[in-house]
């Protein structure tokens, strides 16, 4: 890779600590740590869409939020355009936030129900430094039309919109900051098929128009396949495989990825092949299994090594990485 990545994560960890009460400590309960993100290395390149998949609770949202400095990482460093942004404060932080924005999954809770579209967007514009009300007005109208909303809805409140339209407002809000990088945290999961298609298309168009870079979180693999340039697969706080989209879908290497891909129900007859059905459920990040976290469900388990040694994410020459003892062997 010669191009410098736009975002680079180095051994990022985010642990949530559940404090125990004094007496419980006395009674022998230990401090519980949820290892939501547990050592992720990742590079996101300018202009690409990096898809992020994984089961619920594996730390996708946490990762996205950590990148955006919505909370501080427990360990590791985050670089944005080569600058470490871990400890940004005040003005620098605000500056960074113009560059990096987020779109949320839930179109209901991500918009302040007591604010009209105008208020929601002008908040963003003011943060960007656009204070003049006339300019704001013009900008807001522009934003609305670019996400496909009618300008006359400018003074409407979120509850007056459908789910898809709300998602568009959320997108407009993120765009208002003129960001270069957007974390899209399952932006279409809550939407209907037909609306989902509309939003995906919109996100794609905007990406091209504004030269955006996305970290696109989703659990629907067909969507990921459709939109991403590269895909990272997470399992229990770690990235287990990362590869170019076609590569990943045609030739998944990590057993977990294989299972995921085989589980995609397809309309097309020819793609319906044998399923790999994984046993059991995702272990909790409170008490992750030792070694390779996937070994409890793995159908390719090698034995001892999987239970004791954590496999590292190894990249091949193509920049595709996988973390599995089996694949290495």
């Amino acid at each position: 890779m010669t191009i410098a990545p736009l975002v680079e994560l180095r051994a990022i960890k985010k642990h949530y600590v559940i404090n125990k009460s004094f007496l419980e400590k006395v009674a022998g309960a230990k401090k519980q740590i949820i290892k939501a993100v547990d050592g992720v290395d990742l590079q996101i390149f300018n202009g690409e869409i990096l898809g992020l998949v994984g089961e619920s609770g594996c730390g996708k949202s946490t990762l996205g939020r950590t990148i955006l400095q919505l909370h501080r990482a427990t360990a590791g460093e985050i670089y944005f355009e080569g600058k470490c942004i871990n400890h940004l404060k005040g003005h620098d932080l605000r500056k960074f936030r113009q560059d990096a924005q987020i779109i949320f999954q839930n179109p209901y809770s991500s918009l302040n129900p007591r604010k009209s579209v105008r208020q929601i967007l002008s908040l963003a514009l003011r943060s960007r430094g656009l204070k003049d009300s006339l300019e704001q007005e013009r900008e807001i109208r522009h934003l609305l039309s670019s996400v496909g909303l009618a300008e006359r809805q400018i003074d409407n409140y979120p509850h007056q919109f459908s789910g898809g339209q709300r998602q568009r407002i959320g997108i407009a809000r993120a765009l208002a900051m003129k960001p270069r990088f957007i974390v899209a945290d399952e932006p279409v999961s809550a939407l209907d098929v037909s609306v989902q298609a509309q939003i995906i298309n919109l996100l794609e168009e905007l990406q091209q128009e504004y030269k955006l870079t996305y970290l696109f979180v989703a659990h629907d693999l067909s969507v990921i396949h459709y939109i991403s340039d590269r895909v990272a697969v997470m399992y229990l706080g770690k990235v287990v495989e990362i590869a170019k989209t076609e590569e990943l879908f045609n030739n998944p290497r990590h057993p977990y990825t294989q299972a995921l891909i085989s589980a995609i129900p397809s309309v097309d007859k020819e793609r319906r092949k044998n399923r790999i059905i994984l046993e059991g459920t995702v272990p909790t990040p409170l008490n992750p299994p030792s070694g390779c976290a996937f070994h409890t469900r793995c159908f390719l388990k090698l034995g001892q090594i999987c239970e004791t040694k954590t496999p590292e994410l190894i990249y091949d020459s193509m920049g595709n990485g996988v973390a599995c003892h089996y694949v290495k062997a």
Partner: protein, 336 residues
């Protein structure tokens, strides 16, 4: 872990009690008005020397912090001092009055719940029916009436006009109740004294209704709205889809869930109920803590006020503790 949490919850009440003790103490000491003056009555000749003797007797001549430490020290050993006015140990006075108050409050709570829960459930099931509207209307009245007014009106109707209910007191003299626990209802059951039970109950009803009216009104509303909420849930449809009868769906599946918010509200309202005691006990001449508290405050009977308030706080904290523990049983998702 549940046991640990319960222990912890119990221990957590200790600092609250200490805080309450200090707060009441300071509160009373910064009161204008000399307790000794009140102690001596309004008329008659009181010499300055007599006053001084009394002040010394009750430690009132010491600096406040000395009094406070003295008080806390003794309180921790269960000695709450002597009542200024009654010259008797506060603990004894409180012990005498506590069962009356607790019995009244408990019966009030029980009556309100027994009335409120079925009505609330029925109103929710028959939403917008005549009965629903009527019961909501009545429950509004319940929260809109000052307790003392309701009490007087009840006395006028049931004691004076109809003569079916005594206007005051806890029990008729002469029914020969042996006091075992101080809770007359319980005692009369324990000793199998039916007459005493009847007498106690007839004395209890009016004050308990007066005291419980607000709670009943609030609980009705809470039960109704949480039932409405619960009845919309998927698991209700699921229960129906199992082929369960509507009655069982409502009583078993819905009510149990609707009780969860109800328990919380009851916990919060217990404070209000205990506060209402003071009024109701005064109106009905009920020999409980509330009446003592009011008298003691007016008499500047510091030790008694402190003692009574402490016990109020204990009763309140205990009631909440019980509610909290109950909550964990009703709501399996929470372990305190």
């Amino acid at each position: 872990m549940r046991a640990v949490k319960i222990v912890e919850r119990v221990l957590a009440t200790i600092p609250i009690m200490i805080g309450v003790a200090i707060l009441v103490f300071l509160f009373m000491r910064f009161t204008p008005g000399d307790p000794v003056d009140l102690m001596m009555g309004k008329d008659g000749n009181v010499s300055a020397q007599e006053v001084a003797t009394l002040r010394a007797q009750f430690n009132l001549d010491e600096p406040i912090y000395v009094q406070l430490f003295d008080y806390l020290h003794k309180a921790s050993q269960g000695d709450l001092g002597l009542s200024f006015k009654k010259n008797r140990p506060v603990i004894e006075l409180v012990k005498e009055a506590l069962p009356a108050t607790v019995e009244l409050s408990l019966v009030a709570v029980v009556i309100s719940l027994f009335i409120a829960i079925p009505i609330g459930v029925y109103s929710a099931v028959k939403q917008n029916s005549l009965i629903d509207r009527a019961s909501m209307g009545i429950s509004f009245l319940g929260v809109s009436m000052p307790a003392f007014w309701l009490g007087i009106v009840l006395i006028l109707i049931f004691s004076v006009k109809l003569g079916i209910s005594p206007a005051q007191g806890r029990i008729d003299y002469g029914v020969g109740l042996d006091k075992v626990t101080g809770f007359y209802l319980l005692d009369s059951i324990l000793t199998g004294n039916f007459q005493a039970f009847k007498s106690t109950l007839s004395h209890l009803l009016l004050p308990a209704i007066t005291l419980g009216a607000t709670l009943a009104a609030i609980v009705t509303r809470v039960v109704r709205s949480s039932m409405l909420e619960v009845l919309r849930q998927d698991y209700i449809v699921m229960a129906r889809a199992k082929g369960m009868s509507e009655f069982k769906v409502v009583v078993k599946h819905a009510l149990r869930n609707a009780l969860i918010p109800t328990v919380t509200v009851v916990g919060l309202e217990i404070g209000v109920l205990l506060g209402g005691n003071m009024i109701v006990e005064t109106v009905f001449g009920w020999p409980g803590l509330g009446r003592i508290a009011v008298e003691a405050i007016f008499n500047r009977d510091y030790p008694l006020v402190q003692g009574v308030v402490m016990f109020y706080a204990i009763v309140f904290v205990m009631a909440n503790l019980i509610v909290d523990i109950l909550y964990t049983y009703i709501n399996p998702k929470i372990s305190i």
